[in-house]
């Protein structure tokens, strides 16, 4: 049985850990709110873009000279997997679950004899992936210095991806990130970026145009040509924003349960401490009494 002093030390150390997790929870909660606002603010742009793209994509997809960003290169040999994770740990299973899904996909592609290239955004994903797939990782993008994610952070990454695509370094690009649903649930998502997925036009969307046939200036093809690279940046930007919100959500939940666990531990230890204190008092008393009786 540990002695009283040891127990006291442990109680103190758990209490200070609890203080830290409590503080981290608060910080994560306030960061989460900001990240959520940013993610929501980016929605109108992405929605508009998607609408125009869906419209154009349908009329252009059948055409011969359509951009490879829309219809693909015609091959499916080399896959670029982008894994977006966080820069910091202590956020529960957030990074692991993204990496897990990505690994599943990678294994499946390897089994299909495809060539794979991995681009990591965020340090944590890289640390987990490099054990197994070090030779497949083409680069790691570190966003550690970024305090508030701006579009100007996402567009150079998108520029790089586009350049790689132009240089024929890959045929299909898939992005892995966690979509933010609520502070408690984040959904790990696999999103195809190149070729651009065009949502099936439903009747509702058709009605939305109000029968107004748009005129395109300079022309449908030119607009699509300018729109597609931008769409890659926007998609990436959105994914990173969602990821940032998810990370904070996951961290908040993780820290909350850590705080709770620490509380339980303190209760247990305090009980144990009091018991051993009583036990030592009792044994002291017995010694004194039996000593007195012996006289």
């Amino acid at each position: 049985m540990p002695n009283l002093k040891d127990l006291k030390i442990r109680i103190n150390s758990v209490t200070s850990t609890q203080k830290i997790t409590q503080a981290m929870k608060m910080v994560a909660a306030s960061k989460l709110r900001r990240a959520q606002e940013a993610a929501e603010a980016s929605r109108p742009y992405a929605e508009r873009m998607e609408k125009v793209l869906t419209d154009l994509g349908h009329s252009m997809a059948g055409n011969e000279g359509a951009s490879p960003l829309l219809v693909g290169t015609g091959k499916q040999d080399v896959h670029l997997i982008i894994v977006a994770t966080s820069e910091r740990g202590l956020c529960g299973g957030f990074n692991s679950s993204i990496v897990k899904l990505a690994k599943l996909k990678i294994e499946k592609l390897i089994a299909d004899k495809k060539k794979i290239k991995i681009l990591c955004i965020g340090r944590k994903g890289h640390l987990q992936l490099r054990r197994q797939y070090n030779q497949l990782i083409v680069d790691v993008i570190d966003l550690k210095h970024v305090k508030r994610l701006a579009f100007s952070d996402a567009s150079p990454i998108a520029g790089r991806i586009l350049k790689m695509f132009e240089d024929g370094e890959f045929d299909v690009c898939t992005l892995f990130y966690a979509r933010f649903k609520s502070a408690l649930t984040q959904i790990v998502t696999e999103q195809k970026m190149i070729p651009a997925p065009i949502a099936e036009a439903n009747d509702e969307a058709e009605d939305d145009l109000g029968g107004a046939a748009y005129e395109y200036e300079p022309g449908e093809a030119e607009i699509l040509e300018a729109l597609l690279p931008r769409n890659v940046s926007v998609q990436l930007f959105r994914a990173l924003l969602e990821n940032a919100a998810s990370e904070q959500g996951a961290r908040m939940t993780a820290m909350e349960s850590a705080t709770r666990n620490a509380g339980e531990m303190i209760d247990d230890l305090t009980l144990q401490y009091n018991r051993s204190r009583q036990a030592s008092i009792t044994s002291d008393l017995i010694e004194i009494i039996s000593g007195a009786e012996a006289l």
């Binding site: 980016s42 873009m49 125009v52 579009f151 109000g210 300079p218 607009i223």
Partner: protein
């Protein structure tokens, strides 16, 4: 009251502006055009230039914004501009831009690859537009 147009200026980061306006001048890539209510639906690319928003507030003020290219969508009763960056013209500083142009020219001279040349040229043309707007 005169008929109004629902105008939205959206950047990837946030909705920059949303209001009822009487008319907007848009720097389309095929030339500037003015959008009034009941304009025919059109989707066009935009070159870097100045957007002039008229009748945004109750005053007769014209809000002038410099935008770094993007898209404009005119629909029935609304105009949406998608752009990556917008700066109110009043916040542009002529001296700063001139300095940037000089920097960009130096970049162009130092450029070794086609890629670098292209980015430098793009930067210069963008900055020249900016300077015109600031003047």
């Amino acid at each position: 009251m005169a008929k109004t147009l629902h105008f939205e200026l959206v950047s990837p980061e946030r909705l920059l502006m949303e209001c009822e306006v009487t008319a907007v001048v848009v720097p389309g890539s095929e030339g500037d055009f003015m959008v009034y209510p009941d304009h025919a639906p059109v989707i066009t690319t935009i070159r870097p230039g100045v957007v002039e928003v008229m009748g945004a507030s109750d005053k007769d003020e014209i809000v002038r914004l410099f935008i770094h290219g993007g898209f404009a969508e005119v629909g029935t009763g609304h105009l949406v501009i998608l752009t990556e960056e917008a700066i109110p013209v009043s916040e542009l500083r002529k001296a700063d831009i001139e300095q940037k142009i000089i920097d960009a020219r130096e970049d162009l001279e130092d450029a070794k690859t086609d890629e670098q040349t292209r980015t430098a040229q793009e930067a210069i043309s963008k900055l020249t537009e900016l300077l015109k707007a600031a003047a």
